[in-house]
């Protein structure tokens, strides 16, 4: 799993591609943990090239969201979610846990 990290003035963009499932979710978890351990709490997850997201992946994002939102110090937002992934997120009732943006510029600009 390739994970790209891009630092902006007020936020960090995390980007990966393809499938996020039980086989590689631990790598994504580690990437988020490294960021929050360094005090980065404004995080954009760029999903423009993610075409599959299992519950193991969502749990990584929920866990990161819990950490970031503590003490109102930041949050994880999502950008460029594939429509089918968005539909499934709404269906299981988890879309309320994340703000979602149609493009990276808006997501980065939200901080």
């Amino acid at each position: 799993m390739e994970i790209g990290i891009t630092h902006y003035k007020r936020s960090v963009v995390v980007k990966t591609q393809g499938r996020v499932d039980g086989s590689n979710a631990p790598e994504l978890k580690e990437a988020f943990k490294e960021l929050t351990d360094k005090g980065e709490f404004n995080i954009v997850f760029d999903m423009s090239e993610v075409n599959f997201m299992a519950s193991a992946g969502w749990w990584v994002l929920i866990d990161a969201q819990k950490t970031c939102k503590q003490l109102n110090r930041g949050e994880v937002v999502l950008a460029c979610i594939d429509k089918s992934i968005q539909d499934s997120l709404s269906l299981v009732g988890m879309s309320s846990y994340f703000k979602a943006f149609d493009d990276i510029t808006s997501a980065v600009g939200s901080f």
Binding site: D21, S23, S55, W58, Q65, K66, V92
Partner: protein, 136 residues
């Protein structure tokens, strides 16, 4: 009915997905329906590896698919520990972020995404989960 057997390993989840996605597309499901089947089967296969077999490379997952006039039926079979869905706590989604627990999230996804879900266990056949998704 088409059938394939996969090693019970997390790096084989993508192969299982490919197998069911092809059938879901042939069954005429729309994009969200195809994705729902892919996600539900992935969650079920992950549960088999992590809970029924309690680790990778401890057994196989047999995947049978029937495309019918209503949509698609997927049957996953394993020979691991008996699975009792009643023992899996349901996550409290809709609850505040702090209270949500990861336990049972996969099973919750499966039930929300599919039109029918059925679990069976027998000594001869092992665990069987049947997932049905209908065309809209």
């Amino acid at each position: 009915m088409r059938k394939r057997t996969f090693p019970g390993r997390l790096d084989k989840l993508a192969d299982i997905s490919l197998f069911v996605v092809q059938a879901a597309e042939e069954a005429g499901l729309d994009d969200s329906g195809v994705y729902a089947v892919e996600l539900a089967v992935d969650e079920a296969a992950t549960n088999i590896i992590e809970h029924a077999y309690q680790g990778e490379d401890r057994g196989e997952i047999c995947c049978s698919i029937e495309v019918n006039r209503d949509g698609l039926k997927v049957i996953l079979q394993d020979w691991g520990n008996p699975f009792d869905p009643k023992k899996v706590p349901e996550p409290t989604l809709g609850a505040s972020l702090e209270k949500i627990q990861s336990s049972g999230l996969g099973l919750f996804f499966i039930r929300k995404l599919m039109d029918e879900v059925q679990f069976e266990f027998s000594k001869e056949k092992g665990n069987t989960i049947t997932l049905v998704k209908r065309r809209k």
